[in-house]
C-alpha cells in the first residue's frame, strides 16, 4: 500500500473541517480502505470526540514526534469500522511542538500501511496550517456558502499554490437548498466561479450532523442522513471514482445545473 495524504483545511474556523475529516475517514474505511485520520490541531483536540474515540487515547501526535512512544502505539483503532484509525492531537501543548518536517516524516512512515491518511488542519494560516499541509498530496478546502468563509478559502488556495501543493479541491459544506432556491444563499456554481478550483463535494445542512457528533458517531455511518450520503460521495470522488453531483445531495434542478458545470473539466 502507498497511502495518499489528504489535508483538510479552510482558513476560517467553524466551517466543518473536523466533521469533514471524520466523515471522509469513515466513508473511505467503509469502502474497504485502510485509513488513518490525524488531528493536527495541537492544543485544541477535537477529532477524537467527533469520531467517538476520546476515551481510548493514551498517546498522541506529539508523543510520536518526540519519541515517547512508537507510532503503532499512538494509532487508535476504531472498533466499529474495520481499517479506521486515529492519531489524536496533544491537548496540553501548542503548534510549535511539531514542525512541517515532523509531519512529512510521520506521513511517510504511515504510507506503507494505509491507503489514505487524512489530516485535519487547524484554522488559521500560521504554523499549525503549515504543519498540516506539509505532507499533503492533495489539499481539500472546506467552505460554507458565506462571504467570509469563501474569502478565507480564496486566501488559503493562494497559500496552497504558493507551497506548490496544487490548487486544491473544494468541499462546500452546510448548503441549504431552500435558501439557495429563494436567492438568499450563494449557490455552488457561484462559489466555483469565484474560487476557480475543482469541486469535490457538496454537503447539505443536516441536523443529523449534530446528533451524530453528540453521540460520537460520524454521520457517514448513518445511511438515512443526506449529509452522510454526500460525504460518502465526496470520499468516492476523492478515491478517484466518477460520481455525478446529483439530486440526492440536495434539491433537483439546482444540482443539475452544477453537474453540467463540473463535467467538462473531468474529475479525479
Amino acid at each position: 500500500m502507498t497511502a495518499k495524504i489528504a489535508t483538510i483545511t479552510s482558513g476560517k474556523g467553524g466551517v466543518g473541517k473536523t466533521t469533514a475529516t471524520a466523515n471522509i475517514g469513515v466513508a473511505l474505511a467503509s469502502m474497504g480502505k485502510r485509513v488513518v485520520c490525524i488531528d493536527a490541531d495541537i492544543g485544541l483536540r477535537n477529532l477524537d470526540v467527533v469520531m467517538g474515540l476520546e476515551n481510548r487515547i493514551v498517546y498522541d501526535l506529539v508523543d510520536v514526534v518526540e519519541g515517547r512512544c512508537k507510532l503503532r502505539q499512538a494509532l487508535i483503532k476504531d472498533k466499529r469500522l474495520n481499517g479506521l484509525y486515529l492519531i489524536p492531537a496533544a491537548q496540553t501543548r501548542d503548534k510549535t511542538a511539531v514542525s512541517p518536517q515532523d509531519m512529512i516524516k510521520l506521513a511517510d512512515d504511515l504510507r506503507s500501511e494505509f491507503d489514505w491518511v487524512i489530516v485535519d488542519s487547524p484554522a488559521g494560516i500560521e504554523r499549525g496550517f503549515r504543519n498540516a499541509i506539509a505532507p499533503a498530496d492533495v489539499v481539500l478546502v472546506v467552505t460554507n456558502p458565506e462571504v467570509s468563509s469563501v474569502r478565507d478559502a480564496d486566501r488559503i488556495i493562494g497559500l496552497i499554490e504558493a507551497e506548490e501543493k496544487g490548487p486544491g479541491k473544494l468541499i462546500v459544506n452546510r448548503i441549504k437548498p431552500e435558501m439557495v432556491k429563494r436567492g438568499d444563499m450563494l449557490d455552488t456554481p457561484d462559489i466555483l466561479d469565484v474560487l476557480a478550483i475543482e469541486l469535490l463535494g457538496i454537503i447539505p445542512e443536516d441536523e443529523h450532523v449534530i446528533v451524530a457528533s453528540n453521540q460520537g458517531l460520524p454521520v457517514a455511518m448513518d445511511p438515512k442522513s443526506r449529509a452522510g450520503r454526500a460525504f460518502m460521495n465526496t470520499a468516492r470522488r476523492l478515491d478517484g471514482e466518477d460520481v455525478p453531483f446529483e439530486s440526492l445531495e440536495g434539491a433537483d434542478g439546482f444540482f443539475g445545473r452544477l453537474s453540467r458545470l463540473v463535467k467538462p473539466g473531468g474529475e479525479g
Partner: protein
C-alpha cells in the same frame, strides 16, 4: 429574499449581493492592494500626470479588474477639454 428587501420593493437577492461583494473584496485581497491604498495611488498618479498634461481630476477612475486569471489595474484619465485648456493658457 429578505423581508426588508421585499418591503423596500427591491428585486435583488442577497446571494447576488454576496457574490458581487465577494468578487470585489477578492480582487483587492489577491492584489494585496486595499481600497484605501488604491485611493492613495490614484491621488499620486493624478499629481504626476498633471505635471505633464491638463487632466480632469474629478473624472479620473483607477480600478482593479479581473478577467479569468489576469488581474489588471485599469486607469481612465480624461484630459481637460481643449476649450478650457486654451482659456487657461491665454
Amino acid at each position: 429574499m429578505s423581508f426588508f428587501n421585499r418591503l423596500l420593493g427591491e428585486n435583488r437577492s442577497s446571494a447576488k449581493s454576496a457574490k458581487e461583494r465577494l468578487q470585489l473584496v477578492l480582487v483587492h485581497d489577491r492584489a494585496d492592494l486595499s481600497p484605501g491604498n488604491l485611493e492613495a495611488l490614484k491621488d499620486e498618479v493624478i499629481d504626476v500626470i498633471s505635471r505633464y498634461v491638463d487632466i480632469d481630476r474629478r473624472a479620473v477612475s483607477i480600478s482593479l479588474t479581473k478577467d479569468r486569471n489576469e488581474q489588471r489595474l485599469v486607469a481612465d484619465i480624461p484630459l481637460a477639454n481643449a476649450r478650457r485648456r486654451r482659456g487657461s493658457a491665454g
